[in-house]
């Protein structure tokens, strides 16, 4: 049986199709957000938040919340995002330390909770799948798929509609503020969107690897392109490509979905980094 036959067989299963739809949408969303985060020097906030989401997930697991766990995890992460973005602004150094503190303590707290109160017979497998995604993208219920589709479409729509404001605010916040933009509201929206995407992305790549989805496509496109528009579009395309290829490889080879996608992100980054040198020499 050729690879194509194998794939077409796989794609007859609705859960495989779901996984691809959700995976691509989430990657696309994270990559757009990544452009803003990377340029605002907020890359690490995504990482810190993903650990907060892990802690929240642990609480949800201990409370035996299954379908309702998003209702718990999402608000906790949103609040953490708002706090981090607000504090991270006034004093850079202590903001950094704050992110690190919140991130490791959530990890420790989450693992402790799962270990002490966990009812599952295999705690380390549970922890592992929350951290690295494992197979959870393949076990999505249809309501989870819908939530993912709606929220990520909303995220993409927000980015497109507010594109000009996002550019101005990212490029020069003081100028935007002086011309009457409400930058606090923008920060709040960014915080909420980051939190939502991180919680969604946990299904795909697990909480340890989320930052890769956020950062790599943006950095990769910045190697090649010079305008904000090109960088935004290229990030989206790189994200779609790496998510698709990564998931296909994972499917055929049986490798873990999350790490395969992230490895693809790294490979594409290295390729584009080298390409940018070649182009520079020839121009």
């Amino acid at each position: 049986m050729s690879i194509l036959d194998t794939l077409s067989m796989y794609f007859q299963y609705p859960f495989i199709r779901y996984a691809f739809i959700v995976g691509i949408l989430i990657s696309l969303c994270s990559s757009l957000l990544g452009v803003v985060l990377v340029l605002k020097r907020f890359s690490y906030i995504g990482d810190g938040l993903s650990h907060v989401a892990f802690g929240a997930m642990a609480i949800a697991a201990v409370l035996h919340l299954t379908s309702g766990r998003l209702l718990l995890v999402l608000p906790i992460t949103v609040i953490a995002a708002i706090l981090l973005l607000r504090k991270g602004r006034n004093s850079k150094v202590s903001g950094d330390a704050k992110i690190a503190m919140i991130s490791v303590s959530s990890l420790a707290f989450g693992y402790l909770l799962m270990n002490v109160f966990g009812t599952s017979s295999n705690t380390s497998a549970d922890v592992c799948s929350t951290l690295f995604g494992a197979t959870s993208i393949l076990t999505l219920t249809s309501s989870e798929v819908w939530i993912c589709v709606i929220l990520s479409t909303l995220g993409i729509l927000l980015y497109i509609l507010y594109y000009n404001r996002i550019f101005a605010l990212t490029f020069d916040e003081d100028f935007a503020k002086a011309t009457g933009e409400n930058t606090e509201r923008y920060d709040l929206i960014v915080a909420i969107v980051i939190a939502v995407i991180i919680v969604l992305a946990m299904n795909l790549v697990g909480s340890l690897l989320i930052s890769a989805l956020v950062i790599f496509p943006a950095i990769t496109s910045m190697q090649l392109f010079k305008s904000f528009k090109q960088v935004s579009i290229a990030s989206a395309l790189f994200a779609i490509a790496t998510a698709t290829i990564g998931m296909l490889i994972a499917l055929v080879q049986g490798t873990p979905v999350g790490s395969t996608i992230v490895v693809m992100d790294v490979v594409v980054f290295v390729l584009m980094y080298c390409l940018s040198f070649v182009l520079r020499i020839h121009v």
Partner: protein
């Protein structure tokens, strides 16, 4: 009626009072230069005028048809990121931000205004160039174009010639002077006394004692003329 009026203005961070009971007023078409040593409160004043900082006492008011969000602002260029992926056109266009109001995208009129402004400042050939690859002088012109799109009434400049070579700096001062002669009100922070004494109509000096005077009175008092 004054275009910009500060009354009894105080600004403080914690217990540290940066600006103390400052009052001044300028009219349309005036050219105000703010001078003083680093840390004396010049940039703090600028940020308060822009609405980025709140006064702890007193008021800043705009008049003569200028709305608080219709200020053109040219920041110190070193405060901006060097490696930001943006073309000249994208940066200049963001000057139309305060015209968007409830719209999401720049319309034809705004894009046309942006094009005309780039033409006026000799930026059209650079429209698609990357902001990161520009020289210091070109960058300042790009930021000036953006500021001018945001306002046709009043322009705030924070050390507009920092990092420029003398020739480019002098070009920049002449450009600002021309804008002023066309009726633009200028508020500028600068250290270059020669140009300030030549072009400014008013001087706000954050010295040991803060003074606000017409340039000729200031020069007389200092015994320069």
């Amino acid at each position: 009626m004054s275009v910009l009026k500060a009354e009894n203005l105080s600004v403080q961070f914690g217990n540290n009072r940066i600006i103390e009971k400052l009052s001044f007023a300028i009219d349309k078409g005036d050219y105000l230069c703010v001078i003083g040593e680093n840390g004396s409160g010049k940039t703090t004043l600028m940020k308060t005028i822009l609405g980025l900082l709140k006064p702890s006492e007193g008021t800043i008011e705009f008049g003569d048809g200028v709305k608080p969000n219709q200020i053109g602002y040219l920041p110190q260029s070193m405060n901006l990121q060097e490696d930001f992926p943006a073309t000249v056109e994208e940066v200049v266009q963001s000057g139309c931000l305060n015209r968007l109001k409830n719209k999401f995208f720049y319309d034809k009129e705004m894009k046309q205004a942006c094009k005309e402004m780039m033409e006026k400042l000799d930026l059209l050939p650079l429209a698609n160039a990357s902001y990161r690859t520009l020289s210091g002088g070109q960058r300042q012109r790009v930021l000036l174009a953006r500021a001018l799109l945001a306002s046709s009434e009043i322009l705030l400049l924070d050390e507009p010639v920092t990092g420029l070579d003398p020739e480019r700096a002098s070009e920049m001062y002449q450009l600002i002077h021309r804008l002023n002669q066309d009726g633009m009100t200028i508020v500028m922070i600068s250290h270059d006394v020669k140009e300030i004494y030549q072009y400014a109509t008013h001087i706000l000096d954050f010295g040991n004692k803060v003074t606000f005077q017409k340039t000729k009175d200031y020069l007389k008092e200092k015994g320069i003329v």
